[in-house]
Symmetry: C2
Subunit: 232 residues, 2 copies
DNA sequence: CGACTGAGTCCTGTATACAAAACTCATTAT
DNA sequence: ATAATGAGTTTTGTATACAGGACTCAGTCG
């Protein structure tokens, strides 16, 4: 058992990310530092440090006299993240060793076919998808790029909680994954990249449609639970 | 005169970035919080907040019991940043309105030709280059992408201070800029992107060569000035 | 002579304290 | 009735305090 020492700010940060990506937080909601610190059982100092860290990743925003707030869900930001992730994942593929890509292709194909058959609940679908992409990029040696991808994907996950898994969508996505994997098996890198970009494009579009519908249903409140104060 | 309120942590952060990108700091050097805070005339709290913000951008690193240190200059990180910036700038071009690209082409050409004639000192060269790229991307509507580019370029600037401007290199870079601009003028986006990627590739390679030479000259110390303690 | 040990010091990570800005809300003026 | 004012209260942003871990270095044991 490897004992890891962690600072409070790291733990707080992880907990905040968990809450943000699990959808149990009012997305545009203001943050009362004292209250949240009390709730987490820590002082304001490490909490503020965690918030500042998250601010750089776009999950938290702040204004000078008014403090922090959870970054509001924002269609355009989501729409902007899609293409960025698409090109970065493509780059990661290009930088991977062709041999490695060929060697993981069977596993990629298997995962894609398995997942298309079972219709699971939301978190499972997202988890499988993330796993597939992780395997896809497992050979990329560019650490800075991988780090960047991780950060950006966290920002995306905030929005994914809104995505309702839909049989048709899952099937199509699995098909696209399959297409990527088949190209890799044949050593057709540019084909794989094209399919990957298409996968990102379609996924983004799907979520944008759902988001629009969701917003039209309940026009005013993006916040499922209201914070005590700090309307931001 | 627009009065802007700024937090201390924002000002500290800006000052640290300035020092880091101007090369007046020991790159791998450890940070003594109390000492640096005193030097800046602030308390440890906003200083730590600034450091944490910078840590997310890769300019600062930290270890649990040992505190912060300026991220050491690291060839592989630099080599990794190049391709990432290349594809992101290319994406920014693709997302820009073709009309806008065509309209800025003349200015891009002019800047490129002007700069190739004059051989300036280091900071001027870097400044001109940054200006050219800023103009090139001025039409990109993807704010998240632009923000990302800014952050990554700051990380790059740490290394650029080591680059010695060299007549031949400047001329070639200007040629490449010219090539990008000419393609844009003709509406040849993919040509422009290819030239842009080449420009990034060559620039990166040049700096890597110089860095290797620099490191061979003075093998042990990357730190021009030594900190008091905290060798990290 | 070299490795280990432990007291002393320094430094980080976290908690608390404090001043000033922002908000609330009742009262006054228009 | 609406807008303006100002006392009172939160809340943020920064400074200071404190506990425990990390480093230093001299002394001891092999």
């Amino acid at each position: 058992m490897a004992i890891v020492r962690q600072t409070l700010r790291a733990q707080i940060r992880a907990e905040l990310v968990r809450r943000l990506t699990s959808g149990e937080l009012p997305l545009g909601g203001g943050i009362n530092e004292a209250q949240l610190a009390a709730e987490l059982g820590v002082s304001r100092t490490p909490l503020r440090e965690a918030l500042i860290g998250l601010e750089n990743e776009g999950l938290i925003e702040s204004t000078v006299g008014k403090g922090f707030r959870f970054a509001p869900a924002n269609e355009s930001e989501f729409a902007e993240l899609g293409p960025v992730l698409a090109v970065l994942e493509s780059l990661a593929l290009e930088l991977s060793a062709p041999d490695h890509l060929k060697s993981i292709a069977p596993a990629l194909i298997e995962k894609a076919t398995n997942y298309s058959t079972e219709i699971d609940e939301h978190s499972t679908v997202m988890h499988h998808d993330a796993e597939w992409h992780d395997l896809l990029l497992s050979g990329c040696p560019n650490e800075r790029l991988m780090e960047l991808l991780t950060t950006l994907k966290v920002a995306l996950r905030r929005y994914e909680v809104m995505l309702v898994p839909d049989q048709e969508f899952i099937r199509r996505s699995a098909d696209e994954h399959l297409q990527v994997a088949r190209c890799l098996a044949e050593g057709d890198l540019s084909g794989a990249i094209a399919a990957l970009k298409l996968n990102w494009h379609n996924g983004t579009q799907q979520l944008l449609r759902q988001y629009a519908a969701f917003r039209d249903e309940m026009p005013d409140s993006t916040a499922p639970t209201a914070p005590t104060r700090n309307p931001a």
